[in-house]
Amino acid sequence: MTNDSTGQPEAGRCLFWPLFLISAGAVAYEIALTRYFAVAKWSEYGYWVISIVMVGFALSGVTLALARDFFVRRGAVLAASLPAVLVLTAALGFHFTVTNPFNPLQLQNPATWEPQVWNIAGYYACLLPFYYLTGIYISLTFVMNASDVGRVYGFDLTGAGVGAAAVLALMFVLHPFDLVPALLVPIAASALLTRGKWRTQGTAAALVALLAGEALLLLGPRAAFNDFKSIYAPMNTPDAKVLAELRTPRGLYQLLDNFTERVDTDISNNAGMLGLPGPPQTFGLYRDGNRLAALPKPMAAGTPLDVGYAGAGLDALPYTLLPKARALVVGASGGFRPAAVLSLGAATVDVVETEPVLRQALRDGIGTSPPGLAGRAHTVFADGTLAALDGKQAVYDIIDISADFMDAAEANLTAFTTDAMVAYLRALKPGGILSIPVSIRDFPVYALRMLATVRAGLRQAGLSPAADHVLVYRSAWSVRILVSPAKWDADRIAAAKAFADERSFDLSYYPGFDPVAARANLYNDLPAVSFTSGEVSADGPRDAIADEAGVVLKGDYSASSLAFNLDPTTMDRPGFHTVLRLAQLDTILKRLEILPQPEISGLVNLAVLAQAIIIALLVLAVPLVAPGRLRGRAAPGALRPAILRAAIYFPCLGLGFLFLEIFVIERASFYLNDRASAFALVLTGMLIFSGLGAMAESRFAGREWRGIAIAALLALGWCVLVLLGLESALMATLHLPWAVRALLVILLVAPVSLALGLPFPLGLSQAGTGGMLPWAWALNGAFSVVATPLANLIARNAGYSWVLICGAILYVVALITFPIARKPTP
């Protein structure tokens, strides 16, 4: 930060490299922590880490705002010593994170949640110090170089971008639990690049801290999977082995050999009566401790996969209705699904497999597991269902979505949207069948939401009434929804009934279905439950799905549609496990225990939003507490900073930048068919390009208004173009190679990011010499924390397009409220 004994900044191009390294290390540490949580616990709690980060930054800004002079006087010492302290707090923070006994499952029980809240407080206690002190370092650098704010911000952002890219690259090499020890190095190295008389002592302290930190993390308690993740039990069975491990930013993949691994498919409980075997033993492929797929065990060359169970599967019905079908299987399930479909009589099978490691397993095998598609030529589509079906009309007899496809990758949610239904129906031959799976083990209401989406797709495809084109049948735990461009006739319905009856499955809907009469012959009693009143039907066998399926397909209101959000999912609002109406929070909290895991993220989001708003309001209140500190001691006649305008301007920037970033990440996830790559490319690209843009701030000295107008209008124009034309552009280029599409994503974000880098340093240039600068930085940080959960809430209720629209509005407000410093009144 400084390089002479008076604490005054020294000009020079090398001045901000320590800041670059610390920003890089801080962002990398944050990403490493989110990976730790995703692997050791569950990913929605890693999201909480990001909020802890930003709270630290916000609090540091408030500290600098209130005690600016104190810190500036000690700037040289702090610059030299903080790297060592940061290394220690980073190491201790991770150590106490690893040893924290937090069990998120206990949050769902009113009798056990309280100690877990203390464990969460433990995370704050151990992680806040690092981010608070990082914030002190960064904001002090701003304060001490107020005349060069653009370059400071540029080094900060580009450092953050490079840090993000570096840690993502490290994920190919290091286990997620070993990332943090590696990231201590750049933080310690920043001491070496610090100038000033304390450099030698600071470097020595950083080296000692580095050695101590590495010893603690490498020799002390090691991170491990939570013992309730699905990998834990298989790993601890007799003779269990990990046969292969793949490290990628997308996840830590492990191939396990143990006796619990079998093809995981819903088969009839009457399989024995049918003379069919159960699923064969396999290897198990896990990603971040969650089971992803069964992969075949080694077998003699030319041996087909053992799929003798296929005829007993819930998903076998379409193949009895349409023999010798040309089928498209969405989700290969390690190769077992195409093999099963062929054994059921399909003539040819094309495959959509979007998960890159599963695709590798199909093509080349993993470890000692052989290729899942060996011995049979299949066309494999890698880029999602919409890409696979682009331009196809009346091609397939059966489109069959595998039961594990939704959970295999977040981007796969787009395969269950209204837009996808339209594409499926267009690609089916006139008598073809689309087969959609829904798990009802946790929440039977998911079947109704899928039916609502199917109905919307049928109506958009011009097939009406929708109810004539749907047949629903189920086991105890799973539903299959069959959709056809042709109306379901009596012969097909009779064949479906015979199929179900033989296997103890139940039909829950077909045209002409009588749900009351059907109760007399149920195999799988599924009582109706009232989420609101907490009551369950007790007047004999029921089929809760049958009770409402017809109503939903007609588009009428049902009891479930009043209690839950059953709106069809779309490309703009693809979240499927978002049936809770968050406005009914009191009911949700009463039923917390029965909520399935995927719904919990919505509640975590609300909790993070509430915390973020409180912190942001506290930061906003600083001028009320100490207005004089913000203005500082100014020379007579000097310009006075506009605090009220700043209180609106900087929050708008904090919210607006993140809103645009979140929108682009969502769209890029679909375009690249991979959320991890989308996140990496967009985050790194936006940080680096906005950092470069920030460095142009000095060109607008004296003409700040021009700078902010150019930036805001560019951002606004970009938003309008994207809103109107992005979807068409994405669909038109979906067929291009992945590398080209990745480049297009960078080209999409680059120009707007260059523009978005300007408003923040331009605003800071008006901050004067008081505590206003760090306060503005704190505001920006505090509202960045608000941005993510708020954007998630907007996207959940209104769609991602509205996130973009809100971002555009925020930049217009920023333009209007630019806090130009004023001359004092005489």
Binding site: Y232, N236, N269, G272, W477, Y523, D525, P527, E535
Partner: protein, 297 residues
């Protein structure tokens, strides 16, 4: 049919020690459930824990505090079963009365006994380590009653966990078998039954997919705690006529779990019922018409 070593207190303690030393000897199968008639004292508790390889220190005051909570917990269980199922099965209540729950409170991963947590005022699940939990006693009472255990029944459990569930059932049924897939947990828990004199319980560590085919005639009750997307077909083959299979679904730290109850009809086809009684109360007064289970049948 063999009898337990002794029904006297001295014999009980000596027998527990001897059984611990001979823990690798095969157990008698098909032994009748034998009620524990020795008084359950602090000394008996400590001896049994020692014999099971889980030594514990406990003062008399600590022991008495647990015993004082027990009757209140029993009342809680009875009230819960009446509220949820219309009646409390006397056999289930007797089993709870007989079994010392504090004996099952143990953190296997750290080797820490936690008997002081037993019969807590607010029933809750307790982590045992190795990915297992001792479910809260209300949920366990509910599931036990749903199983409809009878004295002539043979029970199979896949997923021994703490051993409490199979112990409960063993107090009612003729024979109980339990398989644990997690090796360190299974090896530790299989030592806990003999010290209590539960000689009709057999356990092993291994793959539960094929059930326990050596048991002739199959099972009246099968509980599967670790099912994936399907219930293993081999287990349905081992269901006797009129048998029930219970599969609890959901993470173990909730107040209870959703239970799927499977039965076979006369044709051999499987029927299932989703039971959410732990979380939801019946909508109508139909529960009043359900006949209460008769004791001893």
């Amino acid at each position: 049919m063999t009898l337990p070593l002794s029904l006297t207190r001295r014999g009980f303690v000596a027998g527990a020690a001897a059984t611990a030393a001979a823990s690798t000897l095969p157990r008698a199968a098909g032994a009748a459930a034998t009620p524990q008639t020795s008084p359950w004292t602090r000394e008996a508790f400590i001896a049994a824990m020692e014999a099971s390889g889980r030594p514990v220190r406990q003062t008399q005051a600590q022991f008495d505090a647990i015993q004082k909570r027990k009757p209140i917990a029993m009342k809680r269980i009875e009230k819960y079963l009446i509220e949820r199922l219309g009646s409390a099965d006397p056999a289930v209540m007797a089993a709870f009365e007989e079994i010392p729950r504090e004996y099952f409170h143990y953190m296997y991963q750290s080797g820490t006994p936690t008997p002081g947590d037993a019969y807590e005022d607010t029933p809750k699940p307790w982590a045992l380590g190795y990915g297992s939990a001792l479910s809260d006693y209300l949920g366990q009472a509910y599931m036990t009653q749903i199983c409809e255990p009878k004295p002539d029944h043979t029970v199979l459990e896949i997923g021994t966990g703490s051993g409490f569930q199979i112990s409960l059932l063993s107090r009612i049924v003729k024979s109980a078998y339990s398989i644990e897939i997690i090796e360190p947990l299974g090896n530790a828990v299989k030592k806990i039954f003999a010290p209590l004199g539960y000689t009709n319980v057999q356990t092993k560590v291994g793959d539960g997919y094929f059930g326990w085919p050596e048991v002739q005639g199959g099972f009246d009750i099968i509980i599967v705690t670790c099912a994936a997307q399907y219930a293993p077909p081999e287990l349905f083959k081992q269901m006797k006529p009129g048998a029930r299979m219970i599969i609890p679904i959901g993470q173990p730290f909730k107040r209870g779990q959703v239970l799927y109850v499977y039965t076979k009809d006369a044709e051999g086809k499987i029927h299932s019922k989703r039971d959410v009684g732990v979380f939801f109360i019946p909508m109508t007064g139909a529960m009043m018409n359900r006949p209460a289970p008769k004791p001893g049948t």
